[in-house]
Symmetry: C2
Subunit: 254 residues, 2 copies
């Protein structure tokens, strides 16, 4: 399995490139890659290439690559958009990491009445790094898009475009996979809503009643935000995939 490295400027790259700093550090210090090693590079928007490390300069650290032909990958057929309360501390990164491995295409933090964590400005960088690392791990050519936090009312009033299906993690919800699967038939965009650990308030539940969201039970236990988010992502991903084909390159080399 070749290592994946993030090279956002891949589109304008010719047959040589220099890695950005966090990737260079990761490649040399964590992965211990050396001159001559083969890697894959990706730009997070569907472009990948095979590359070879052509030079490593120590101070300041620079990793040079010889880059092969580019490949283009179609975006995922279904947008799986995780919209959730924020768990505390490190569990934010755990959630984003696993949800990215399992195929989310978008992430939006949602503020609820009982939210315990709010977005900090410095969180965004950590989350972005987590998304990049998870794409590398799972070899996904499309980086999930990170959106600004919204309040629940903004979530509810989100202009309905055709084919958006909303699934809400909620304990007294639908546990029948057939009903969930049917609702996902033909969906192009699935939004997964996960509330805070204190639960949704009565008022929030009432407001959500006016949307056509499907409440999905994830079992008998009381779940932390990240466990609910990962379980709902896995379920939506698997139940929406029936009959669809996998991601294929849309064009050959360029």
């Amino acid at each position: 399995m070749t290592h994946w490295l993030y090279l956002p400027q891949l589109e304008s790259t010719g047959d040589t490139a220099v890695l950005e700093e966090p990737e260079a550090v990761h490649a040399v210090r964590a992965r211990r890659l050396r001159v001559g090693d083969s890697v894959s590079v990706f730009d997070g928007v569907g472009r990948t290439a095979v590359a070879r490390i052509s030079d490593v300069i120590k101070r300041p650290l620079e990793v040079h690559l010889a880059v092969g032909a580019h490949q283009h990958w179609a975006p995922p057929a279904v947008r799986i958009h995780l919209t959730s309360a924020l768990p505390k501390g490190d569990r934010q990164v755990t959630m984003l990491d696993m949800a990215t491995q399992l195929g989310i295409t978008d992430f939006t933090p949602v503020n609820f009445e009982r939210s315990v964590s709010r977005t900090r400005t410095n969180s965004q960088d950590r989350w972005r790094r987590a998304l990049i690392e998870s794409c590398k791990q799972s070899q996904r050519p499309w980086l999930p898009m990170m959106h600004a936090p919204v309040d629940l009312d903004q979530w509810i009033s989100h202009p309905p475009d055709g084919g958006v299906v909303n699934l809400i993690a909620h304990k007294p919800g639908e546990s029948c996979s057939d009903i969930i699967k049917e609702s996902l038939l033909g969906a192009k965009h699935i939004r997964l809503l996960v509330g805070p650990e204190g639960g949704l308030s009565e008022d929030e539940l009432t407001r959500l009643d006016h949307t056509q969201a499907i409440r999905v039970s994830l079992g008998e236990g009381v779940l932390r935000v990240e466990a609910a988010a990962v379980a709902l992502t896995a379920l939506a991903g698997r139940l929406s995939v029936a009959g669809r084909t996998g991601s294929q390159p849309v064009a050959g080399s360029v």
Copy 2:
């Protein structure tokens, strides 16, 4: 939501009890519980009770409880047995935590050709603490059972008792939820097999061919052990639950 505390000796407890040390520390230092606070206690084998903190002695720390009537809960109708390679470091606890929240009843580490982590004797204590914390978090009265590590051949030769269904996380696998759901109909015991991040070897796949295990695809990405384990647990839990009722107390107060 009342806090849950682990009290393994609940069966023999009368109307007063003293918490074991890790629970006492957790209750007082982390949860900041005080005399007069209400809690729930559970013994991990289906017994719970409401209790009230009657006394807190500082040095050495002792937390005394006044314990109410006991309730008995039936064991889960389906055993969901996670049998997996070990992820590295902290990701072991992340996996056990989330899988417990999502309802595993058993955990067995499995050694594969390409396993990177092996069980250490001191791991068992950390895992046990993680399972207890997750049961408290998710308010599950049954603590998952932790079994000794096995090699894949032992896993394969596991005597088949009626109603065991084996699901293997494997990328070129079944992505049709109907086939998986049908296989789980009536299952009393589901074993989930998750291999190491280097994948199953050809030889291991051949040996597994002789079992009646169903290969389940969890999507296009390359998954870390803990992400695959959590996704497969969520899927098995939801797809096996159709038509079954939730857990209810089997008897009233004793």
